[in-house]
Subunit: 223 residues, 2 copies
Amino acid sequence: MDAIPILTLKRLPQYLDVLYQFKKAGLKIVSATKIAVFTDIHMTQVRKDLSYTGVIGVPKVGHKIDELISAIEQCLNWNDTSSCFLVGVGHLGSALLGYQELQNKGLKVVAAFDTNPALINTTIHNIPVFSLDKYADLADRLHIHIGIITVPVDHAQNIADLMIANGIVAIWNFTAIKLHADADVIIENVDMSASLAVLSRRLAEKMHKAIPKSQDSPEAIIE
Amino acid sequence: MDAIPILTLKRLPQYLDVLYQFKKAGLKIVSATKIAVFTDIHMTQVRKDLSYTGVIGVPKVGHKIDELISAIEQCLNWNDTSSCFLVGVGHLGSALLGYQELQNKGLKVVAAFDTNPALINTTIHNIPVFSLDKYADLADRLHIHIGIITVPVDHAQNIADLMIANGIVAIWNFTAIKLHADADVIIENVDMSASLAVLSRRLAEKMHKAIPKSQDSPEAIIE
């Protein structure tokens, strides 16, 4: 299985979303040009990204939508369901437990953990919540490889350590801290604080009308 | 107000988090070196990022923690509270309504909107939920500049258009689609699908044991 560049991986879900919409609208065939228009991604980039899926379109005609959807889903492993654990059943954790999109994208939370007695031994959106003390025991029995961390920032590293010690090889980290782990552990961050930082500052700059948006630093363009 | 590079903005919350932890632990002074160790960001980068805050440390001593916290909060405009609207009160939207961290970071949702009759005229975490029909009217009365979008993907662009037509200049987009808007509208995306795509694929690659992680593409390194 060849490595796909990270930026391609991040764009594939955007292609999927427009493909689902085209399919819903009754279309059977789509060109890379049309995908480019709808995603606002350059056509050359779309073609290059789609080449990683292994699907070859017909020149001047395009791609079969069903075929392309299957190929992208397979690339992302979203046609297979992986079980995962979630630790931290606060607002964000609870929301993820109820978030149907995760399961559509191949991720099924089979158990959640918290230290709050009011939550332990309840179910949230049909997913059982266990005491954190039970973590090692359940991990041992269920052989789960993916862990979601939605705890407060100052507990995040401890939870990551616990997960890694008990068989987790991929962590989806929703906290703002950068987790330390061996290089062979896959860590993917959804950093809302970083995103909010950019939004807040850009808005403050705009309201102070100091600098037009186009004068963003070169560093921003590289990203 | 000078523009701060986007990557610096994204790192500032990480510095803040360790500074809060140091403060909680009773420390008064911190060196850039120590911040570098705790955030796992290179010291040179930490120094450069902190220089944007305008705080000047004492050589061989460091920065006053309180001063640095205030300076970063001010850079991010997190010491001011901005009111915002949220549209789409599903699992994710509801979670954000209850997410105290947002308010700690200067963002207060004053009203939420949905089309689901079961939600309209209720309050969630003390925030009133209105019919989407009321949006223009409330926007007109409250002069809100920030909008959060947590609707299903195929409604996102319509909601963005509605927001922009009614005074929103900064959108925090939690859907997977890229929104189209004039260049002067600030759009910041929290794209969980993109993040999950990377996680799922990397795990699949690892499980197939084809490629060591270090052979990531050059594109990934630039990012």
